[in-house]
Symmetry: C2
Subunit: 218 residues, 2 copies
C-alpha cells in the first residue's frame, strides 16, 4: 500500500514557497463550498473562475499535493478537500499555548475556529495575578513562571505571542528555553531567535497600516 | 506654517510599497520602547541592532516619512514615534463594522487593542436572532439586513469580514453596496470586487498553514 500524505508528514515535508501555501487555503475554502453544494468534480479552470486566480497557477500550486486531476473531468472534490486539509496541516492537532491573555490573547483563546484548522490552545500564560488561576472558555491560565515546568506535559510545541510589545523579546526567549519549536507572533516586534525555531509573524497592525494607506492613496 | 503630515493625509497619501509599510510598525514598536526607557535620540544603526533589519533598509523606509535624522545623532525619538504613528494612520480614528460575530468576529470586537491602532469598531452585524440586539463589550449587534440603512450614521468606511467562508462573497458584496470603502477580510475566501475598494486579506489560517509547513520541513 502506498504511504498516505498524512503518514509522510510525520517525517519531514517538502518546503513549499510561501505564496503557494498561502493560496492553498483559498482553494480549500472553494472546494469545501463545492462539496457542500453537492459538486463531485472540479477543474482548475472552474476554481479559477470562482477565485480570480490564474488556472495555470492553481494547477501548479496543486502539483505540490499528492493528487492528480483527470483530463476533462478535473479533481474529485472530496478527495481534493481531504488532501488540501492534510497537506496544510489542518486535519492534525497541534497543541499551543497563548502567551499573554490581554484583549487579543483572550480573543484568540476564545476563538474556537482555530481548532478547526488544527490549532488546539491548551493553556494561557500571564503575569497578572488577577487572571492566573482562572479559565477562559475552559482553557486554564497559568503563571508565566510555570511555562518551563508545564510545557512538556501540555504537549505544546507552538506558542502564540500576544503580550504587550515591550515584553515580546523576553517572552519569546522564555518560550524557546522551555522547548517551544514555533512562535506565532502577533506583536509588531521583530523576534530574533535561533534558526531552528519557526517564526510566523501576523501583525494585525501592519495589515491595518497597509489598509489605511491604500484607502488614502486611491 | 508648513502643513503637517496629519493634514496632508486627509487628501491623498503616497503609495508606499507593502513591505516597507509592513516594517514601519516594527520601528514604531522599537521607538516606543526606547521612549519609555527615556532614550532621546536613536540612529537607524541602533534600530537595526535591535530589530535585525539592515540599517540602510531602515533609513530607506523612514525616507517615506516627513522626518530627517541628524548626522551622528540620529532621529529624535518622540518625534519619530509621532511621525510613524501619524504616517501609519494609527493616530486617527477609523470607524469599522464587524460582519459576523461568531468566535473570531466576537474576538475582534472584544479586542480593545485595535482602537490603539486607529480602528474603532462601532457595530457588529449578524444573521443569528440569538445575537442580534445584544451587545459585545458595549458594541451593538444589528441584523445584517440593517447594514445598508445604518452604515452612514455609523460613519463606517471599513468592514471586517469574519463570517463563515461560504458567506464571504455575498457579505462583501452587500458591504460594498452599502458604501463600505475597505474590506478587512479574515476569511480564506479570495474576494473579488471593484478596483476602488481596498481589500486587506488577513488569513490566520494561511499563516497557520505556513507555520505548520515550516515546522515540519526543518
Amino acid at each position: 500500500m502506498p504511504r498516505s500524505y498524512t503518514e509522510m508528514e510525520n517525517d519531514t515535508r517538502p518546503y513549499v514557497p510561501e505564496p503557494a501555501i498561502s493560496r492553498l487555503p483559498w482553494y480549500l475554502a472553494c472546494v469545501s463550498r463545492l462539496r457542500a453544494q453537492g459538486v463531485e468534480y472540479v477543474s482548475s479552470t472552474a476554481i479559477s473562475k470562482q477565485l480570480n486566480v490564474d488556472a495555470s497557477q492553481i494547477a501548479k500550486d496543486l502539483s505540490y499535493l499528492n493528487i492528480k486531476g483527470k483530463t476533462r473531468i478535473g479533481y474529485e472534490v472530496s478527495h481534493l478537500e481531504k488532501e488540501l486539509g492534510d497537506f496544510l496541516g489542518f486535519t492534525r492537532s497541534h497543541n499551543a499555548v497563548v502567551m499573554g491573555v490581554g484583549s487579543l490573547g483572550r480573543a484568540l483563546v476564545s476563538d474556537s475556529g482555530l481548532s478547526r484548522y488544527g490549532l488546539d490552545i491548551v493553556a494561557g500564560f500571564d503575569t497578572d495575578p488577577e487572571v492566573i488561576g482562572t479559565e477562559i472558555a475552559g482553557v486554564p491560565v497559568y503563571d508565566l513562571d510555570e511555562l518551563a515546568g508545564r510545557r512538556q506535559e501540555l504537549g505544546a510545541e507552538i506558542a502564540v505571542i500576544a503580550v504587550p510589545v515591550e515584553f515580546a523579546a523576553e517572552v519569546a526567549d522564555r518560550c524557546v528555553k522551555a522547548g517551544i519549536k514555533a512562535l506565532w507572533n502577533f506583536t509588531p516586534f521583530h523576534i530574533k531567535t535561533s534558526p531552528e525555531i519557526t517564526i510566523q509573524n501576523t501583525s494585525l497592525y501592519a495589515h491595518l497600516a497597509v489598509m489605511y494607506n491604500r484607502m488614502n492613496s486611491r
